[in-house]
């Protein structure tokens, strides 16, 4: 889902980048003071874990596969604002150091994976957590990565490199990620449950989430 340079029209890349900067600035303001110094390394560990997990491409035979993106997991563990900043760090390091995802299109890649997947994933999690936290985390990962892929498909589909074939791109990327997203959902649910079970004191208490 990391878009290389040349795929998205410059106007699209710039527009999405501006939106991304605004969203992350608001996120940073919202989170300011929310965590204490002792839990600051948690943001680093979650981001580093997502970076490492993103390198593990799922070896699904047949030529179409994906890797874990982790936006929904970051949202469930850290809350949406810190989650967005953590995944934005990952996507930026990937682009600047490893050439994974373009530089001009960096804002769009951050938008798809660190804004859309994180906030859509978090919304799904909040909606379903009162019924089952495990199920809610699964749905958050599944629908979060699908939403991120749809956002990427829209940016690509309105660009000249993809011959403005928006519907084709949406169909290929949307349907594939809806299926592959089941793996993202499973990882999100299993990892979030084991981390919360292992150290319930470390993660923000989301019991108020289920109360609503």
């Amino acid at each position: 889902m990391h878009i290389p340079d040349g795929y998205v029209n410059l106007s699209v890349a710039v527009t999405v980048a501006v939106v991304t900067v605004v969203v992350l600035a608001v996120a940073a303001r919202r989170v300011d003071g929310d965590i204490d110094g002792e839990r600051a390394p948690l943001v680093g560990v979650v981001a580093a874990g997502i970076f490492a997990a993103q390198m593990l491409n799922w070896p699904i035979p047949g030529g179409t596969s994906a890797h874990f993106v982790g936006g929904a997991l970051a949202a469930v563990l850290l809350g949406p604002h810190l989650g967005a900043l953590a995944v934005a760090t990952v996507v930026t390091v990937q682009s600047l150091v490893f050439g994974d995802g373009g530089v001009v299109v960096l804002g769009a890649n951050v938008f798809n994976m660190a804004v859309i997947e994180v906030y859509v994933g978090y919304a799904v999690y909040r909606l379903l957590a009162p019924y089952s936290r495990f199920g809610a985390a699964f749905a958050a990962g599944w629908l979060g990565i699908t939403a991120g892929a749809v956002a990427a498909a829209l940016q690509l589909g309105v660009s000249s490199a993809f011959a403005y074939e928006t519907l084709t791109v949406l169909a290929v990327m949307g349907v594939s990620h809806l299926l592959l997203g089941l793996v993202e959902g499973a990882i999100t649910a299993v990892v979030s449950r084991s981390l919360v079970d292992a150290r319930p004191d470390l993660w923000p208490d989301r019991t108020e989430v289920s109360a609503r």
């Binding site: 204490d36 110094g37 390394p41 948690l42 680093g44 580093a48 490492a52 997990a53």
Partner: protein, 122 residues
């Protein structure tokens, strides 16, 4: 290393891990081990992805619409495509995974400290 031997103060062992001395929290060592395990898996998954002909849906969409040759790498980065120039593919992936994970850990922890209220910020 100080998992159970060090008194943690009146708040109990979990409430204030490592906070008073400014050292790393008690869970940090286990977290690093988990990260290291993921890093070691990277070359294994890299090999497996090559075996199955890994391609992402976006690449398929690029093939379908003729966009594939429009990709234009303006910037390759220090370790292009998670490899280290001059190192073999498995060793390069391992070094890239280690360096990227460490860098991400450092930068995101820095963000966490900047945004934390007071006591953790230097």
């Amino acid at each position: 290393m100080t998992e159970s031997g060090t008194p943690d103060g009146p708040d109990g062992p979990d409430a204030s891990p490592g906070g008073r001395t400014g050292g790393p929290p008690d869970w940090f060592r286990s977290a690093l081990l988990v990260l290291l395990a993921l890093v070691v898996l990277a070359p294994v998954f890299g090999w497996a992805a090559g075996q199955v002909g890994y391609a992402e849906p976006m690449e398929n969409a690029a093939e379908a619409t003729g966009a594939a040759d429009q990709a234009d790498a303006l910037h390759h980065g220090l370790m292009p495509d998670y490899s280290v120039p001059g190192l073999g593919s498995a060793a390069g992936t391992l070094v890239a995974a280690l360096a990227g994970t460490a860098l991400t850990l450092a930068v995101a922890t820095g963000f966490g400290r900047l945004l934390a209220n007071g006591n953790g910020a230097d």
